[in-house]
Subunit: 425 residues, 2 copies
């Protein structure tokens, strides 16, 4: 007798939690991902800013589940799902049959109808993105050091981050630290601290989904680090030369996009009903309205709380949804109907701004500055997978705190756009 | 009054030692490198085999010299040297004037007149090379896991390393460890230990430059790990499908080139007189015969010992040459002639084969197995630059020793040849 087949698409927080909660059940699990690793995305900006290495925040999916013989990991790209035949089709492999399907394929950045902007202002979702951005930031400094043209030099020493959510705030703060602390003795022709770091936000405050007092604190902390924050500012044009706001042109060679989220286009491609952001509409049980054995979770699903509020696109929500779906599948396997809808427990939100600078709201309490930063560190370490990562990340952070070193300032010459690759400088 | 200008091309062991020995002298130093980091090349094979991260063996050149205001680091590509005008020309910057020039630009692999083989059987000289090879090895396993065609699967599970010098021996041993230990529980359709690892050497023994007893020990140790060693075997053809020896075709999707060294082509381009391997001919004082203020050192120079023996292309020799040239420049600045020619002190040679497996010759004594491995670890840690690298590498090695984990098994999807990039699998 063979066990029911559960196929999980996506090895992010949502998919991983779903798999984990089914490990001890009598099921055959197949986990499909385009990459070979789970990525701890909340720390991805630290890879992009030379503070951590890819290995510190990524774990091979195979190694997470190597001792669970009922879990099979498939590295591959899903092209469609045959909901009739209950089969997942991959670009290069045989179709994979399922009894229960869990889709947690995450989200990408959203360029507001201008996909060509991605080339000039890359987003930050994958390790490849992070390494690309790391290389761009480092090369801008290298070019500025050798540049004889004052205007070009000042464009090279201008970094613009678009989007004042957590990622944008964290990126802007980290770039300011690189300029003001890490690299301050590294150059002979330029002062790295002359780097102008600009953060652009379309609404009237940073971290719009946070409590207003934390938004104000984040603004104050970023400004104290020299970051120029433009609120109520929409981007109207992006090119290789810079970025245009409604009234202003900013000449810059380093643009980073951290605005807008849109669900992975796979959701629409699968034929699932979507909201405006491409997120799948789901029942209160997180299943697809048309297919009761198909669940969609995490950033690619439009999930409403029992109170009717939309659940935010954050890692804790994705993990809660993964665990919920795991339990739901266990009930269904026992022929029991689903009765309790998914309910989101909001434990709070955190964003770091720089060394000893952060904002945190936790169980309704609000913190700023050093204490918020300690909470941030503690929680991120707690959730990092694997002893090795925890230990190395703690060490890196201790060294960075004491020396501002950021040891991962490596230009390997492969993450630049092909047309820029030769010559590197 | 301005100090004499020393320009050093190349931030490898040779160039770095030359710069270091001149730090306290009254000179203005410019260090030029194509990359932004010094690379601890003896451990590069560990990056290629997922045991270490790039950051563990690479240090930004700027951070090494940030507190020395008389050292300027230039990331750029040298295109020619005007020996008359004493100027180094870069591809994108203003020429840089020198009073003394030190060239230490290293070597590349040598495909015996078949440069197109490089595409199919990449060599291992840069971080980019190592990450490319890492990705190829990991993807071969992923493809084999999903492959339905038995012949293709067996080609995917065949890795061929060409060249039985230290790099080839280390690569073959490490791949065997990945297959037999690290990934042994990771797959469901294949046994990773079915990976056939083949090491090809043209002469009649491995490690031809080592003592014959160590060659025999290396062969024995590799065979005990399941590596198939082909001695007296020359490669006559390389393609995307495999490799041809005189009498035999080996179908394989993972080829790695570790044979033959040829000096950086820049040496010939600069118009310096070369030997057959493209290495610059130098005087006993390591200077160019035509230009007494130009020194060529490290793997790109053909250096003979005082005894007339050619100095090997190894890191300790490069470092000794760098220090010698530093002292030579100090003498010349004091208007003293050079009297003692360069003399090489051979402290021994080391190669690691696997966990607790190595060969070592040290001050005339020879060791094999566990004790040689301990010596190897001790010496490599001793010479790694920077406290952070030492600490992390020791930790990684401890974890690898206890668990065989190799945590850096990451496929980031950018190091594959462009035509292979989409789709990844």
């Amino acid at each position: 007798m063979s066990f029911p087949k559960v196929v999980v698409i996506g090895g992010g927080f949502a998919g991983l939690s779903a798999v984990s909660s089914l490990l001890s059940s009598k099921v055959q699990i197949t986990l499909i991902d385009k990459t070979n690793h789970h990525l701890f995305q909340p720390l991805l900006y630290q890879v992009a800013t030379s503070a951590l290495s890819p290995v510190d925040i990524a774990v091979p999916l195979r190694s997470i589940f190597s001792s669970y013989k009922n879990v099979r990991v498939v590295m591959g790209e899903v092209v469609r799902v045959d909901f009739e035949a209950q089969q997942v089709h991959l670009s290069q492999h045989q179709p994979i049959s399922y009894d229960y399907l869990v889709v947690g394929v995450g989200a990408n950045h959203h360029y507001f109808g201008n996909p060509n902007w991605a080339e000039y202002a890359p987003g930050l979702k994958t390790l490849k993105d992070a390494l690309n951005i790391r290389e761009r930031i480092l090369i801008a400094f290298e070019k500025a050091e050798m540049c004889e043209d004052r205007d070009e030099q000042s464009a090279l020493l201008t970094a613009v981050v678009v989007g004042g959510g957590p990622t944008g705030v964290e990126m802007a703060g980290a770039i300011a630290e690189i300029a003001n602390q890490t690299m301050v003795h590294d150059f002979r022709n330029i002062r790295s601290s002359a780097m102008r770091v600009i953060l652009i936000e379309a609404t009237d405050r940073l971290l719009p989904s946070y409590d207003a007092s934390l938004s104000a604190s984040a603004l104050k902390q970023l400004r104290s680090m020299g970051v120029q924050v433009f609120l109520n500012s929409s981007v109207t044009e992006v090119s290789s030369r810079g970025i245009k706001l409604k009234e202003e042109w900013i000449e810059s060679r380093t643009l980073i996009w951290a605005a807008g989220n849109q669900a992975n286009p796979l959701i629409a491609k699968l034929g699932l009903d979507c909201d405006r952001s491409g997120r799948a509409l789901v029942t209160p049980f997180l299943s697809s309205p048309k297919h009761s054995t198909v669940f969609v979770i995490g950033d690619c699903a439009c999930v409403s709380d029992t109170a009717g509020k939309t659940v935010p696109s954050v890692a804790p929500a994705a993990m809660q949804q993964g665990r919920y779906v795991g339990s739901a599948i266990k009930r269904l396997m026992k022929q029991k109907p689903l009765v309790s809808p998914f309910s989101y427990v909001d434990k709070g939100s955190l964003a770091t701004i720089g060394k000893a600078r952060a904002v945190a709201s936790l169980f309704g309490l609000k913190f700023s500055g050093f204490f918020a930063w300690i909470i941030w560190i503690f929680i991120h370490i707690l959730f990092l997978i694997g002893f090795r990562s925890k230990l190395v990340v703690v060490l890196e952070w201790m060294v960075n705190f004491l020396t501002s070193r950021r040891s991962v300032r490596l230009i390997t010459g492969v993450y630049i756009r092909p047309e820029e690759q030769k010559p590197l400088l």
